[in-house]
């Protein structure tokens, strides 16, 4: 088995050596394609990260209660909320707790609040949603309840942000899928050339009893080689670029967007895994496709 693997690898190297110009041309194209793909991947991961940030900040609905609403009535309402599937947790926040929280936030300037004659904050029920997408629905139902003063929820912002991030994600995913297909086609056309140049050999091998996998071996190796090398080159370039982005613009981005960029180390580790597996799969799928016609016939 090892022997066979070694044999396949040796053959693949020999084959690549034989059509050097063509192999370099396609190596260059695949690298370029994967580079672009990598940029979309960076965008996708960051947008995804941002939208997670947005979702966890905005997946709360604060139901402010009228001063006249009693604690018992509030408890009854809480039971109703707890029964809803879209709600993950229900917490009662008395006006005293709210003020304390506020003071805590204000830190050094908290003593200013002590001068208030009465506590201006309402009692409230804080609803944490399973997902922000249920917000509208929950808000409507809460509004219909008696004893509710006002519902605090920045719906428009959330909706807008979500639709933008969803849009970006979909576009990035579609482009990534498209680029993957293109790179598979490039690999398969490259391998097809070597397959064609060895068509006779393949036929003879089949007629004397070689299995399809045996015949595929060297071509599969050649494809994987091609995919892997392109993936390593483009992966390194994308990682360097990300390092540059994070060190140059990371802070500004944080200030503007309130969530940071995905951490460099995390991103690069994942890029390495993704690029290596992508390179191997592109190569393998490309070469298997290129041989299909030759191996289908008996």
């Amino acid at each position: 088995m090892n022997n066979k693997l070694f044999q396949s690898i040796r053959q693949a190297i020999r084959q690549i050596g034989r059509n050097r110009a063509m192999v370099f041309a396609s190596l260059f194209s695949i690298t370029a394609i994967l580079l672009i793909l990598g940029l979309f991947l960076l965008l996708l991961v960051n947008v995804n990260n941002m939208s997670q940030g947005v979702k966890s900040t905005f997946d709360q609905v604060q139901v402010n209660l009228k001063d006249t609403t009693t604690r018992d009535e509030a408890s009854a309402m809480m039971e109703q909320f707890e029964a809803m599937e879209e709600i993950e947790s229900v917490v009662y926040q008395s006006k005293e707790t709210a003020l304390a929280n506020w003071k805590h936030k204000w830190g050094d300037n908290a003593d200013l609040l002590d001068r208030l004659p009465t506590n201006p904050l309402p009692n409230a029920i804080i609803l944490k949603l399973v997902d922000v997408k249920y917000a509208k629905d929950v808000v409507e139902r809460a509004r219909a309840m008696a004893g509710v003063e006002k519902i605090a929820y920045s719906q428009d912002t959330v909706d807008k942000l979500i639709s933008i991030t969803n849009g970006i994600q979909i576009v990035a995913l579609v482009l990534i899928a498209f680029l993957l297909v293109v790179s598979v086609i490039v690999v398969s056309n490259t391998i097809k050339l070597t397959v064609l140049s060895r068509e006779r050999e393949i036929t003879i091998m089949k007629y004397i009893g070689a299995t399809n996998w045996y015949i595929r071996g060297p071509f599969l190796m050649e494809g994987i080689f091609l995919g892997l090398i392109a993936a390593i080159i483009s992966g390194v370039l994308v990682s360097l670029l990300y390092h540059y982005i994070v060190t140059s613009f990371g802070l500004d981005f944080m200030l503007i967007m309130s969530t940071g960029l995905v951490r460099e180390k995390f991103m690069i580790t994942n890029l390495a895994v993704v690029f290596v597996s992508m390179g191997i799969s592109i190569g393998a799928v490309g070469s298997i496709i290129s041989m299909r016609r030759f191996l289908d016939t008996k």
């Binding site: 006779r200 070689a210 008996k298």
Partner: protein, 277 residues
């Protein structure tokens, strides 16, 4: 002849065609062919061009699927094989193609070794067995040459070495002497006979009456896809098989007298053949 017949009867059936029909659209490949071949036999498959000889071999190797009938091989039905079983089926037969089908970029040694690599033989066995095979076919010492550095007859012997290196039950040869001069053709026939004597069943397609008539083996004559004659120690006279469309251009390479003379001389020198004159 009678003695040979009874001896062959003892051997088990290795190939059996039962009412096999293979059409190419409206063209007949083979039609309603039934035949039995026993282990150890030497069989000539003769007939004019387009008779269906190659089709016979192709359905046996399952390069083509039959339309009707069954082909039994040793202990299974070839027509029922699944795709994944085909490689193993083919490995049990050695095949020599008319154009030799050698790999030009591989050396003599590698051309034979490659048939063993395909069946995943260990390197050690390959290093031991390939030279032995090359020795058998008379190509000792030519291991590092490339096919185009060999004579046509040597190339054919190399193809035979590749076909038998995995000890097949059956050696199938589609016109192995088609491009050869009589002297070289004789060498190949002698080699095939030697292989046959080791117990390998041989099925050889040929156009050439001269070879068939000199060898006196079983002859299956096929025309328009049907078997028209099947005899032991048979002869082949295309005219008698009533075939106006035959194309025998190949056989002009063979001069019957030369061939028979060469055959006799070699046999007396070698003295290995017990066939009575």
């Amino acid at each position: 002849m009678a003695e040979e017949t009874t001896e062959k009867k003892k051997n088990r059936l290795i190939i059996e065609f039962k009412n096999v029909t293979k059409m190419y659209g409206d063209n007949v490949g083979v039609e309603d062919v039934s035949v039995k071949i026993r282990e150890g036999e030497f069989v000539f498959l003769v007939g004019p061009s387009g008779a269906g000889k190659s089709t016979f071999i192709k359905v046996l190797l399952k390069m083509l699927d039959v339309d009707k009938g069954h082909i039994y091989y040793v202990d299974y039905d070839v027509t029922q094989l699944q795709n994944y079983e085909i490689p193993h089926h083919r490995r049990s037969m050695g095949i020599v193609f008319q154009d030799f089908s050698l790999l030009p970029k591989k050396t003599v040694f590698e051309n034979v070794a490659f048939a063993m690599e395909i069946v995943q033989m260990p390197r050690k066995a390959i290093r031991r067995q390939v030279p032995a095979m090359l020795d058998l076919v008379g190509l000792k010492g030519q291991e590092t040459k490339y096919p185009n550095e060999l004579s046509i007859g040597e190339q054919q012997r190399l193809a035979i070495a590749r076909a038998i290196v995995n000890n097949p039950h059956v050696l199938i040869a589609d016109e192995p002497t088609g491009n050869l001069d009589p002297e070289t053709g004789w060498e190949i026939m002698r080699l095939l006979e030697q292989i046959n004597r080791r117990g390998t069943t041989i099925l050889m397609v040929t156009h050439s009456p001269d070879i068939v008539n000199a060898m006196e083996k079983r002859v299956i004559a096929i025309r328009d896809g049907r078997i028209v004659r099947d005899e032991l120690g048979g002869q082949y006279h295309p005219e008698e098989d009533d075939d106006p469309d035959g194309d025998y251009s190949d056989h002009e390479l063979f001069n019957l007298k030369n061939f028979e003379k060469a055959y006799r001389e070699r046999k007396i020198k070698g003295g290995a053949d017990s066939r009575k004159e």
